[in-house]
């Protein structure tokens, strides 16, 4: 399955989709597959300031906890509160219903050196 082409990807398997100056972020289908059943998402607080590469939040599968890194710098404007009660949405719909947060980016240009969907698919194929 190829990744949606309307967004960029990090080598740590986060995605970021910029629309109207806002950056929606989540984890890739590959990442959810590697994690296994997600049972808890330690969501970030709105207003949290992150630099690219900082830990944005933690996603826990039954087996282990994994850090999710901010793919872009800025301030957390919104979080997907649905994940508190339905963390499994990350498995079922990593690109749509399983989004994690919306960031007000401080430098939108940061997305330019992230993987495109084609590059990301090549990158995960080698895994």
């Amino acid at each position: 399955m190829s990744s949606p082409s309307d967004r960029r990807y990090t080598k740590d398997h986060e995605w970021v989709k910029v629309t109207g100056g806002k950056a929606q972020v989540g984890i890739s289908n590959f990442a959810q597959g590697e994690l296994g059943d997600v049972v808890f998402v330690d969501l970030p607080k709105t207003g949290k300031k992150v630099s690219r590469g900082d830990v944005l939040c933690v996603v826990e599968s039954t087996k282990a906890a994994s850090d999710v890194y901010a793919p872009i710098s800025g301030e957390v404007a919104e979080v997907n509160a649905t994940l508190s009660s339905n963390p499994e949405k990350i498995n079922a719909s990593p690109y749509e219903e399983g989004w994690i947060a919306v960031i007000n980016p401080s430098n939108i240009k940061e997305t330019e050196d992230l993987f495109t969907s084609e590059q990301y698919d090549v990158f995960t194929k080698s895994k």
Partner: protein
């Protein structure tokens, strides 16, 4: 990295393989850990446990030897019966927990943890020197092992062997399975009824495939861990450790201090542990993991450490086992800097109905 006789089957089933105790093992199959966990609780899960170590102890003094190196009372065993016990070091720490199968008073099989097989063999080799008539052999590579667990496990096993086996709990029998001599034991590590089947290595895949055809769901190490944790069954390297005294580990029921003498007894008699394993339920969102600190909720002082923790698929709660100072009343766990309060939980967290 070692491979079990079922390696090819796991790959064919699409399992995700991980290194575990020197072995390449399936952590989960495509349907996922929670599916596998529920399959075992409600129907029948199949587990490749071929990585477990098997050591035979034979000879006239075999009973005396085992009585001296294990903490449970071997006199409770009889032919065809199995016993859960542990090998302790002189300080009372747990070298490994194991099951001893008695074929006869001079013929035993020890089943030990995969990652401890080497240390168990070394320990046995050292201790057996004082027993001239006793010999040991590491026969791990000769055996495969499949755990068949869940409320439907016995139905499937009986169909497989074409007979009603009717084994009592912790009994075992040599059985002909599809023309192959196997050992079937009514034991397990999931909190469910079921069996562990020792199979000759070369016949393991055939029996595994037959069990799948009869409706067993292949389950990986991930589900094995969440199942055993719900049942509060200890795991070496987590609850059981070489540098923790056995009386604090939650296996007191297999430590028989009335026994004349055994390695570790002196330390056990002379030590009253400051900490002991207890069950906790997290009462705010979060999951505690191995190594997280436990603090006194009132004083903030560190009073223990989490040994195992997960989100319990059966109970829908976040549960943990932890070493906590015996004097501590209310404790919290520290997960990535956040203090999460806990409530005490009686063990096991999960008990199957009708037991």
């Amino acid at each position: 990295m070692k491979k079990t006789p079922l390696y090819e089957s796991h790959i064919a089933l699409g399992a995700k393989m991980v290194p575990f105790g020197g072995w390449e093992m399936p952590v989960q199959y495509p349907q996922g850990l929670i599916y596998e966990h529920q399959a075992t609780r409600t129907a029948c899960g199949l587990f490749d446990v071929s990585h477990m170590g098997e050591i035979t102890i034979k000879g006239k003094g075999a009973s005396d030897f085992l009585q001296a190196v294990t903490c449970n009372d071997l006199r409770l065993l009889e032919d065809g019966k199995a016993q859960y016990t542990a090998l302790l070091n002189k300080q009372g720490g747990v070298i490994d927990d194991l099951i001893i199968y008695r074929y006869a008073s001079d013929d035993y099989l020890l089943c030990v943890n995969a990652s401890n097989t080497e240390s168990c063999v070394l320990w046995v080799r050292e201790q057996i020197k004082n027993y001239k008539d006793v010999v040991y052999e590491d026969v791990s590579s000769l055996w495969g092992q499949i755990a068949v667990q869940g409320p439907k496990a016995w139905g499937i096993i009986n169909t497989l062997i074409g007979a009603e086996l009717g084994l009592k709990y912790f009994r075992f029998k040599k059985i002909n399975v599809k023309g192959v001599e196997c050992v079937v034991a009514r034991t397990g590590y999931t909190g469910e009824d079921g069996a562990e089947i020792f199979t000759p290595a070369e016949s393991t895949a055939e029996i595994w495939n037959a069990l799948i055809k009869l409706g067993g769901a292949p389950c990986g190490l991930g589900a094995r861990d969440t199942l055993r944790l719900e049942a509060a069954l200890p795991l070496h390297g987590h609850e059981l450790m070489t540098d923790r005294i056995a009386s604090s580990c939650g296996i007191s029921w297999v430590i028989k201090l009335q026994k004349e003498n055994f390695i570790g007894k002196e330390a056990l008699v002379n030590t009253s542990p400051q900490q002991a394993i207890r069950g906790l339920e997290l009462t705010a969102p979060g999951i505690a993991r191995h190594g997280d600190s436990v603090i006194d909720t009132n004083t903030g002082e560190v009073v223990g450490v989490v040994t195992s923790g997960t989100r319990s698929p059966t109970l829908g709660k976040s549960i943990a086992l932890a070493y906590v100072n015996t004097a501590t009343k209310n404790c919290s766990v520290v997960v990535r800097g956040n203090k999460i309060p806990t409530a005490p939980c009686s063990l096991p967290f999960y008990k199957r109905k009708g037991v």
